[in-house]
């Protein structure tokens, strides 16, 4: 049972979503009732319960979900299991692809085997970040972005046009951010390519840019309340009013908004970065056929995408998923065209160089 099913306020909405999934045209009958199992590593609520039950009933494939809580642990676990992993499908964020691919942990995705591939919004399925070494590596399911979230009772919308507000004297001791993510945003804010792809041929320039961003954050260190790591932390800081505004991922911020907390989020004028959670098939997966059956099934209907959005607060990559959201949920997962104009996706190509520079910079900022 997921948490939504027993919060009275949310119960009706989830039950309705569950019912529509169950009542939707039977899209799985075509699949062979092959039996066996499929092993998935994913976040809590990323596989909607109603979907899982229906999938198991109709295909005879047992779905084993192993709950994980971050990307690094999945990588470590998979690396420790390689070359004979126990897992078929993992949940990797698009900009972390390269690390998994370089270590030979992912199998390229054969999109021809997924008749429902076209149900994904092409913004996500055909975007430039998603193709590496000439292959697709994952099926996009949810999309997130780096946003500026603020308590609407303490901060006015006029003040959050720029990321600079995070570093203003007015909100001294009332801000929080994830340093790694902030480094990319600061580079973007300074007019550079935060993905560092442009500087692949010029490591000296890359180092100088990271240094500049680092010096900026060190200079602004007295103003920050907390460098945090997880979504639950920033949510708790907002609830406790330990902070008034923060850099956040849209998912955790949306969850607070949907719960009625006076919070809003925006993408400031300097722009920001987006990322996409994808389902990926492990290299040498034990049940590859079942993995494809599962992926095709989960992509089948926008209701499933909407159910994932309701649970996580992240934006569904499915075409038409928004039609199944409540007004509040729609509001917390949509941005104006003006805001989206400067949104870029994180890219993996230069990650080795970028994080080789950013990680020590992060240590230096923490130590400063």
């Amino acid at each position: 049972m997921t948490k939504q099913t027993f919060s009275r306020r949310r119960f009706l909405g989830t039950a309705a979503a569950g019912a529509t999934v169950l009542a939707s045209p039977v899209y799985l009958r075509r699949a062979n009732a092959s039996g066996g199992e499929v092993n998935i590593w994913t976040y809590n609520d990323f596989v909607p319960k109603a979907f899982k039950e229906q999938f198991e009933a109709e295909t005879g494939i047992k779905v084993n979900v192993r709950l994980v809580d971050d990307q690094g642990k999945q990588f470590n676990l998979l690396a420790a299991e390689a070359p004979n992993p126990s897992v078929d499908i993992m949940t990797v964020a698009g900009h972390r692809f390269l690390q998994f691919i370089d270590s030979d942990l992912l199998a390229p995705l054969d999109t021809d085997r997924l008749s429902n591939w076209g149900n994904i919004n092409p913004t996500f399925s055909e975007s430039d970040w998603s193709t590496i070494n000439g292959h697709k590596w994952g099926a996009p399911i949810l999309s997130g972005m780096e946003v500026l979230a603020y308590n609407t009772e303490l901060v006015s919308p006029d003040e959050v046009k720029s990321w600079d507000v995070l570093f203003s004297e007015k909100y001294k001791g009332q801000t929080a951010y994830v340093i790694q993510d902030m480094m990319s945003i600061i580079m973007l804010k300074m007019g550079y390519d935060g993905n560092m792809v442009e500087y692949l041929g010029d490591p000296d320039k890359a180092a100088a840019i990271v240094d500049e961003a680092k010096e900026f954050l060190i200079e602004k260190k007295p103003l920050v309340r907390k460098y945090y790591d997880g979504g639950a932390e920033v949510q708790q800081m907002f609830v406790n009013q330990d902070i008034a505004l923060a850099h956040s991922w849209n998912g955790p911020a949306a969850a607070l908004i949907n719960d009625g907390f006076p919070l809003a989020m925006t993408i400031p004028q300097e722009g920001s970065y987006g990322f996409v959670y994808t389902y990926n098939i492990a290299n040498n997966a034990p049940n590859p056929d079942n993995a494809y059956t599962f992926l095709n099934a989960i992509l089948a209907s926008p209701e499933i995408g909407a159910a994932m959005t309701k649970a996580s607060g992240f934006i569904s990559t499915y075409k038409g998923a928004a039609d199944y959201l409540s007004d509040l949920e729609k509001q917390s997962t949509s941005f104006t065209d003006e805001e989206l104009a400067n949104l870029k996706f994180f890219r993996a190509e230069a990650n080795e160089m970028k994080y080789g520079l950013v990680d020590p910079a992060v240590e230096a900022i923490k130590a400063a």
């Binding site: 919060s7 009275r8 976040y43 809590n44 420790a80 639950a232 607070l256 719960d259």
Partner: protein, 260 residues
């Protein structure tokens, strides 16, 4: 002892009780909050989180799984840890320092390192991830705590008792079972509490060595990803009440056994 002293100390005790209980009371209280997030102010209340947890087979089976792992790994740790303590305490032999150093080793390795090291080592030994692997890792990790606590108690065992037993013709095994072990019981039970706690609360080793069934901390971490909700508080409260019930039952049960 002066009366003033006693009152002063009793104040400190109750202040300490307050310190350990206030966060706990907050935890129980937040389980009744009608919202997806814990924290003040609480605008409306609900019983749904608690009733939900009691009907949630995923949570209850994770709890049972964690209890089983804690009990079994503790039995192994206690047996091995006590044995090592008996070897090390008051005995001088070549390599004693090395054995002592190796004994406390697992307690010194940071969690994440120890978890990954265990995972790699388990693969090398051919141990499949799952319940057995978690029990093994917890048992190894907890041995140092048993050994340290038991050694401390053993160092205060009057030598005369051992010598008397030996003079009466008891062999080393019988002397250990009749004299040493009864003397060690308080330390062993204290150490068992450490082990049960460490195992029951362990996340990182359980995560790396586990299979598809989550232990309670693994489930809580996964749920935390979508926010610290009152549900997690309700889970922790229910787990606390259930462990207390098991503890009281075990205590009564052994008491009855002792009387028979």
């Amino acid at each position: 002892m002066t009366r003033g002293n006693r009152i002063f100390l009793s104040c400190i005790y109750w202040a300490f009780v307050l310190y350990v209980f206030v966060p706990l009371i907050l935890m129980v209280l937040m389980g009744f909050k009608d919202s997806k997030f814990i924290g003040f102010p609480i605008r409306s209340w609900t019983l749904d989180w608690y009733t939900g947890v009691l009907g949630n087979t995923e949570v209850l089976s994770a709890f049972g799984y964690s209890v089983a792992i804690a009990v079994l790994s503790t039995l192994i740790s206690v047996a091995v840890g006590t044995w090592i303590a008996v070897l090390l305490e008051g005995r001088k032999f070549f390599g004693r320092t090395a054995v002592f150093g190796l004994t406390v080793l697992p307690a010194l390795v940071p969690g994440i390192i120890s978890a990954i090291a265990f995972r790699i080592y388990a693969r090398w030994l051919g141990i499949e991830p799952g319940m057995g692997a978690i029990i093994w890792a917890h048992a190894v990790h907890n041995v140092p705590f048993v050994a340290l606590v038991v050694m401390a108690r053993l160092s205060t065992l009057p030598k005369s008792q051992i010598e008397a037993a030996r003079d009466l013709g008891a062999d080393p095994v019988i002397t250990f079972m009749r004299i040493t072990l009864p003397y060690l019981v308080p330390a062993i039970l204290g150490a068992s509490i450490f082990c049960l706690l460490l195992s029951f609360d362990d996340f990182v080793r359980s995560f790396f060595l586990g299979g598809y069934d989550p232990t309670l901390p693994v489930l809580i971490f996964a749920k935390l990803k979508s926010g610290m909700s009152p549900e997690i508080n309700a889970i922790a409260t229910v787990a606390l009440v259930l462990t207390a019930a098991i503890g009281i039952w075990a205590e009564r049960f052994t008491r009855r056994l002792n009387k028979d």
